[in-house]
Symmetry: D2
Subunit: 456 residues, 4 copies
């Protein structure tokens, strides 16, 4: 047998390829499926089966893409009315070479959530848990909306305690996400983990039923706006790409022409670089955080034009975007920002302050408005005195609340979202914006004053 | 700029990827196009253009496959009525980044043959010659049939002397084939070569017009039977695969089942191994010579089931087959012939004699019939006394001429075709066959008697 | 964190690279260390530490090779007097980024055996068990000789029950071997496994102390003769290679010249191919089984010259050999056996019978001597009537017992060892040998008579 | 045969691996030799021979490294007294499989310069020209100093006209450098090229003897200060690395500690990013231009600590540095500058002006001193009015000439050298420095005033 993990960095999504005797199954494939095909080819196995633990919300599924390339059969929970693939029955069994895979209906994260129990000749030993159980965390239950929250939370508790935990402490757990995902605050990076380890270390599993329900109902998690589109795409089936888009290199003149024709320039460099000089009307999302925050900022329906430090990263950027449903990538800036600067084209910029600058400005009474873009759970670390809370996801709709006569200093935990919001606001017409490098982390590490957050 | 060769081993086919400033063109792509896409991705270039020097006869074109993956435009000679792509004008120019490519109509190999002249800012410097001019050889002119032979030969002479050679001795030549191709006897492996070097070393270029025509008209070349199919596929457009087929591993029982359902077992091991033990009713073509000889032996329209020494070679075998239009590959024998032997299934075999055995048998008057499968040009090396000449391509249709009461000992230059023919004859019902290992080469190297061949 | 397995096929050896925050440790490295260096480079980590669970017996350790390339510190059990590296203390702790690794002295397999417990911020979760505990099996205790057998077995029981199992059912287990190793009969391929799963499924763990001791003392396992050399090399430190040997391609004439100068031709093709035609005085070990059986047949101290089906496999063969301490590889036969046959050189051969041939010969009273080369545990599957038992490891020293006037038909479970022994016997002067394809497995699958084995 | 180019980006150095029949030679290897070993392994060839066209000045030779890994013999011109390898005779022949290589002594670039003529069975066809002849350019003759300049130039003319050009127009040329090298202004990217094409397009080849000598003697080329060290290393033999250094990831605290212990922080980000925020006392050289300009700025003998945008680029940076003789790389900043900012550590910065800012400042009479760092040939494009010329290589020794009361605005052609010089000056104690983004190119493209350069 072989069991290979394929991680999608940034989304912290984990998919699995499991095989035996020339056959393989993929659990929760991502959209750029070449890696699965390569592994299967090296292992001498044909991908026969695509199993989806649930309709993914944070990335476009590669199920149809894989089926198109290999003829594999797709299975997902019948509780949702998918436009493609087959419906799972609770307890349904599949054979992959000498292995057996049994579907277990485990509603809670969503109605159609399933876990898949892997068995060899000696018995079951490993559970693909999808978004039901992670290392250090359990699935979120809020995605079907507040009116279903309690119901889903109860179902999750029951799925965990009646179906998953009884499999025994020694059972290995393979979840669909690692740390850094939108799908759970406390997901740890321990891999592999087991039911025994989770019972020992995962706080959510040790709570009595009612405490569990209360805790989950009180929990507040981000729901990036692009989730909606992912849900629709994965329900109805995304278009099949066949091959990854390969955007052409464009010179500065072509970039400006494309902008005039409606393309959005997406600058994927670090916030500090972007702030200091960028193509006017571009949007900034740092490449490393593109999977996490791109869905807050990048509109669908416009061709994208990429700006990167290094051409070697174009393929990474394209994959990140395609996984989130952005397929229309019309080019990238040839030779990067240096080429733009040498062409003599105008560079926009805005201030990138250090925390020391901001502290000094506060002391001197300079008229800044500090805007904290963080999520509620991040606020537990404390607040900057005098700052206003506006979540990244609301910055544009609440921009009318912002004063025109003050410099807006945007910050978050580290600085990435600050620059995203700054670029969004500037594109919407506000010019007097700035960012604070290192964000709240740098502020607090330097011992500058911090207030306690009181959630209401 | 960059210029990358992609070689298809066995067919000795060479395609080229040339690019500059984020754009690329592919000349004469093969059907498995992943390597072009990979190179383009690494170079940060988009493939904009597919140029075909002519309708290829020896492999399925990847033009449509590439166009499907990248949106590239396809161009080929308008003298043939292709069902897809665009028609070239003589002198038509294309830009790829800072490079210019000019199409030159050079009929002779076929009516629609073109060469492509590559120029940078300093002028033209390199000619993609397709099948018009090779290292050490010129294109064959017999493919349109005997009634067009003289006409095509004259055209080739004129194309070479009026269009190609005037480009100047320093011009670099990049042809569509290296040594070992069906497209020319004397193709050398010198790469790169130039017009100056060819004028110095290529005999065909030094012949006066009439001598050239006489020599080409007297020339006899193999035309593998699968060429016809390639020509039709490339004219009308092959089906688009999207991804390489990934055949599943099958156990001995499944192999027998697939045979019953009509699959043909294709044993790709060396002749010596095959002779000594193989799956009954399998066909043998050694993997290394599959591109060269597969088209003589493997029928179209039957699912193929592969037998290989090493599972690592499945991908190579699949590519070789797909390039020749065999897409229906239904599996491969898991764990190779050892698994078959261990399963207790019957192994067929036939004798594989050394040249010493055959010599001794001849001396002792044993009743063997020696069948020489070689091509006419190979016969210049001499003949085995007492042997009969039957070209590999005719062995089945002429099998009724073969005696039933004698052992047929099949041989060729090296031994590969001997085993192909032996497996074909045995499948057609003749059982008393054998091969001679090392073929005529081993025979003559050992100093055994050789007769002179007199062509009539 | 990251945790990568590096498997050495054939030896079924598994080493691990574990890292966090730019630092990495390797557990039980093999000698060709390029894969560790590549992974570390991709992960942006430096290898700081090499941990050896014990002095490996079945392959040359890569500890010194890695230390030479990276400056890593080597640690192994102080109970053995190594000429290099540092001694472990029971309970000694190491930090690798955010991970902690604790050495646990677990004698039993050998005196200096250690397990390594991996912990993250939430606690310990994974045990590298070396040869102490496998999936489905426990370590062998016979390697220090019969006089230490009982003592070591007791120690192993205590290490397992007092140290390993108390870590808890949920603890993940990562052993040094998978199925197919000489280091345990019943090693399964389940990966990952856990203490809980082993307690449930591993028979050795459920035995009471005395039953465990009796069972282990009654157990008979192969000990390939090359183990001795591995033990000495790993104690004193093998020579550092720096880079993998890259043997040159040699033509048939050069091969014969090298043979005259003392080189041993090692033919790595399948038994069936080898039997049918090979270079005189060559030795046959099928490439796939080279790691398992090479150490029985290949003498140390002679330059090796390789014969392979495909040149692509040279690198694999070199790695297999280097891992077993054969560094002096002076070349490989260019273009394989086909080139040898074409050169007109003599091919040796011997019969490769099917089980049907052998059965018919037995019925007809033909004077064959059937020699069964299998290990004692394999004999549980039954015996061929009339066969003699001579273990592969004893075939040369017991060759004087063999009759000169009968054909010796050598067989094993599958056929590989039959051909090894046949080639060894023929090199030692016995000519009348043959093999039985498919071995005992094919015999019994065809329903031919089988006798029960009675161990004495 | 096979012929593979291995390019070292940035240095525009080209080395070659040529092979036939299981043997290979490398011409002018670089120090990180893994790519040669990989190609040879894939081709089934052993590297037998290392040929050096001359003692390289711009990178550390990999000759000893390759000889160490493969046992290959090293040959270079005997006119220089190397401490290792063998001396070439003019006309000396080598065999590599079926190929012949003939050494031709072609002094001019240096005394010991040789070209290597490659021949197959049909005759010579390709010349490895080293630094004697490039596409579009000839070798520089000034490296042995002004007193030898005329002598060397005459020798180069004679080598070209008496030895190289007589080989015939059709001969293919493979030089040791492409465009962007320090080894020639006008080197073009045409590849391959030929003697015929060079005679047509290379101006230096069309000059009569005296004009050639005058032109070369008037030519002024950069000679980066690290050349001296390369020359000494290549004469005496660099230390053998065995494997590429793999620097560990260090946190901000460790970086500061290493700085205190004497390490130099080398920031490899783009000038714009560096200017806007960097680790105090770091040196900036943009990664893409590190091979070209690192040798001007980075002192030998100090451990280096790298700052990069992306961890994926560490390996590239290490290779670039090792090729220039910087082996002591003690780490890289984990998670890049974002981690530094989040840690709350101080960021240094200086202004990065656009050309529009600078133009406006000039108009407003702001007290700036504009310092142009370009080479003499680059000045042909024109000068900025009011700017002072100080070559990058002299900036530190001439820093005492610089005014203390004015802001120094450093610029070059594109901006890279501006930031290098700014970081050097700041480290030497001058604080009032700035750069101009896009350099002279952006200035002139915007139509701002440009003066003519008059060389004196």
């Amino acid at each position: 047998m072989f069991l290979e993990k394929v991680r999608s960095e940034g989304l912290a999504h984990i998919s699995y390829l499991v095989g035996s005797n020339g056959q393989a199954a993929v659990i929760d494939p991502r959209r750029d499926v070449d890696e699965y095909l390569d592994i299967a080819r090296k292992k001498g196995a044909r991908i026969m089966l695509v199993l989806e633990t649930h309709r993914n919300e944070d990335l476009v599924s590669g199920a149809l893409e894989l089926a198109n390339a290999t003829g594999a059969a797709i299975y997902h929970g019948g509780q949702l009315d998918f436009d493609y693939g087959n419906s799972l029955e609770d307890g349904q069994e599949f054979s992959i070479g000498d292995l057996r895979i049994t579907a277990m209906h485990t509603p809670g994260h969503t109605d159609e959530s399933h876990c898949f129990l892997l068995a060899d000749g000696r018995g079951p030993f490993l559970l693909f848990t999808g978004d039901t159980l992670f290392s250090g965390e359990v699935g979120r239950t809020d995605l079907l909306g507040p009116e279903r929250l309690r119901d889903m939370t109860e179902k999750l508790y029951d799925s965990l305690h009646d179906k998953v935990l009884p499999l025994g402490e020694g059972t290995v757990i393979m979840p669909a996400h690692g740390p850094g995902s939108h799908c759970g605050h406390a997901i740890g990076e321990r891999s592999p983990t087991t039911i025994g380890l989770e019972v020992r270390d995962n706080k959510a599993l040790s709570l009595p039923r009612m405490d569990f329900i209360m805790a989950k109902m009180a929990d507040r998690m981000e729901r990036p706006p692009y989730f909606k589109r992912m849900e629709a795409l994965n329900l109805h089936g995304p278009i099949i790409l066949g091959a990854m888009p390969s955007p052409p290199a464009l010179g500065p003149g072509q970039v400006k022409g494309a902008q005039e024709d409606g393309a959005l320039v997406l600058d994927l460099r670090e916030p500090q670089c972007y702030a200091n000089g960028h193509i006017p009307r571009s949007l900034n999302v740092w490449l490393d955080r593109l999977p996490a925050y791109g869905g807050y900022a990048i509109p669908y329906g416009r061709p994208l034009l990429l700006v990167l430090d290094r051409q070697e990263d174009v393929d990474t950027a394209v994959r990140y975007l395609v996984r989130m449903g952005y397929e229309d990538i019309c080019g990238y800036l040839r030779d990067g920002m240096n080429a733009w600067a040498m062409s003599g084209n105008v560079l926009s910029s805005f201030p990138a302050y250090s925390v020391h600058d901001v502290h000094a400005a506060q002391l001197s009474g300079k008229g800044m408005m500090l805007i904290d873009l963080r999520d509620t759970p991040e606020l537990e670390a404390g607040l900057m005195p005098g700052s206003s809370l506006i979540h990244l996801g609301n910055i544009i709709e609440r921009s009318s609340e912002l004063p025109a006569d003050k410099e807006l200093v945007l910050f978050c935990r580290s600085g990435t979202r600050g620059a995203i919001a700054a670029s969004m606001l500037r594109n919407s017409g506000m010019k007097n914006v700035a960012i604070m490098l290192g964000g709240f982390t740098a502020w607090s590490k330097n011992g500058y004053p911090v207030e306690k957050f009181r959630n209401v």
